[in-house]
Amino acid sequence: MARTSDVAAKPAAAGSAAARAGRRAGRSTTIRGTEVRTAYLFVLPALLVYALFMLFPFVTSIYYSFTSWDGVSLDLPFVGFENYTSMFDDGELFGAFRNNLVWIVVGTIAPVAIGLTLALMLWTQKVGSLAFRTLYFLPYITPVVIIGIVWGWIYNPLFGGLNKLLEFIGLDSLTRGWLGDPGTALAAVLVAAVWGAFGFVTLLLFAGLQSVDLSLVEAAAIDGANWWQRARHVIIPEIAPVLTLVTAITLIGGFAVVDFVLIMTGGGPGTASQVLGLYAYKNGFQINKVGYGAAVSTVITILTLVAAIAFVRLRERGRDGG
């Protein structure tokens, strides 16, 4: 399994840069000149493709968000902050935002809780650990579109496995068309997304556990700490960096989710499972409110960047402390 010690190793690289600069100082300026030229030649191709297909549309998106462009007409009417102010009167946007919050909270806590439990169980498991780990990882490499389709079958009101299971255990009253019921649509999509994500969390946390000092855990056991106390007070603090990392990745990605919802419910029934990303998609591609869709996209960008930067800060602070 991969080691995660790279996380801790990163800051050390900064120190060697100074040493290298010192070594370089003695060399003649012509060598420095070719080095700089080579460096630009090496960086330029990647930078160009990146600027053209990522940075440029990113900037354009912000520009569009200040217009009321419909995607068709030749002129882009500038409207200032109107798209942003009109968001406060947009009920569907608020619904999407609320669903997005549910998505982020549940879609982060559930896979992390499941992944942590399984990783801890597999950590000291001697028989079959690799087989279990490989198996749990399979959903993560399964394409989202297939996850969406097959869970749609499981939720199928006529012959889906979930209703059959409920009938079998005598809970007939609970059977329903899970994706077609406004009360359960979002939860049903979330379950499929959690199914697709927990193996990834398990893998990363298991890798993180490999660097935990076993003697600490043994000492706690000898001192009479039970399973929960050892996990809570000894093991989890040891893997805190990886735990924060997986939490952050699942959380940050949650702001921009589109594919699961688009594939499974299209945001429906009605707008019951609408999320921000899909709402931006709807505005930009289906109802020709490109400017407004771009504004929603920009809100997603801001939320994502704030979360990502907060996480980077948090991690740096953790490093300084340790």
């Binding site: 290298r20 070719t34 080579t38 090496f42 940075l55 198996l135 199914w195 043994e218």
Partner: protein, 295 residues
């Protein structure tokens, strides 16, 4: 506690003898439960893909009640999944090559060469790691339309390499830069002292050492490009150039619900990833782990 601790105690066995048995049993039950939860949807795809149509009408989602392998070839030809498969190959292969080539060079320069603006360029790439596809999809659509690329496979290839969907050069540069930083400095310095040009140092000294990093990156890009849904769905609307993911989605949401062909098509899509996963499990896991540490 009367018992003397054994040299290597089982950390999850409390001293109480009853709990010593219950602990592992509970653990196995939980592990097995999640194994079943993991397997059921996957087996459902395989089982549906090879089901006999007559049997299908009786109970569509009973597991492995009959076997008819012709469904797969039907999906390949009648369902057009053969065409979608090749489209996916034509998208994925140049994407992997492009990301690897561009990121290896840029990652090397950012890790090992010194030049003005290095940090600025590095931060620009890091920004690209954080911006989600959702944030660029709308303007990118119109940009590709204006460039005359919309609907072509090149649209997905170029935007993919650029990093719009998360597996492009920002990720590659980040991984390759970290990889080159970890390589020892002495070899390159020795070559420079011997009069090698910067290009020769890269080509003859550093590149031969970059194999493991390139392998990890290739597999990471391969699997994300192969599995991606939204970008080709948006930028390649026509049937001609459709890859597997959007082909499957549009087939599954079409008017006729041919579950067996959908399942067979899913199998066609998932098998290449599974083969790569089995063959290169170590690099695969390393790539996913390293890719996750990108923050």
């Amino acid at each position: 506690m009367a018992s003397v601790p054994a040299p290597a105690p089982n950390l999850y066995s409390p001293p109480n003898p009853i709990r010593r048995v219950i602990g592992p049993v509970v653990r196995y039950i939980v592990l097995a439960l999640f194994a079943a939860l993991t397997l059921y949807p996957l087996l459902l795809v395989v089982s549906t893909a090879i089901k006999n149509p007559a049997d299908f009408t009786v109970d569509p989602f009973a597991l492995f009640s009959s076997v008819r392998l012709e469904n797969i070839s039907d999906a390949w030809t009648v369902g057009e999944f053969g065409r979608y498969f090749w489209n996916t190959v034509v998208i994925t292969m140049p994407t992997v090559l492009g990301v690897v080539a561009l990121s290896t060079m840029a990652g090397y320069a950012l890790a090992r060469l010194e030049f003005p603006g290095r940090n600025l360029i590095l931060y620009a790439f890091m920004l690209g790691l954080m911006i989600p596809f959702t944030s660029v999809m709308i303007p990118l659509f119109y940009q590709l339309r204006d460039m005359g690329l919309l609907g072509s496979l090149l649209a997905v290839i170029l935007a993919g390499i650029g990093g719009a969907a998360g597996y492009g050069v920002p990720l590659g540069v980040f991984l390759m830069r970290a990889f080159f930083q970890d390589l020892p400095h002495e070899l390159a310095e020795a070559a420079r002292v011997d009069g090698a040009s910067e290009w020769q140092v890269f080509r003859k000294v550093m590149l031969p050492l970059a194999g493991p990093g390139i392998a990890v990156l290739s597999i990471l890009v391969f699997f994300q490009s192969w599995n991606q849904f939204l970008m080709p769905f948006l930028f390649v609307p026509g049937q001609e150039n459709r890859p597997l993911a959007s082909g499957l989605y549009l087939f599954a949401t079409g008017r006729t619900q041919d579950y067996q062909l959908i399942a067979a098509g899913s199998l066609i899509m998932i098998v290449p990833v599974l083969i790569v996963f089995i063959l290169f499990q170590r690099q695969f896991v390393k790539g996913v782990t390293a890719g996750a540490l990108k923050g």
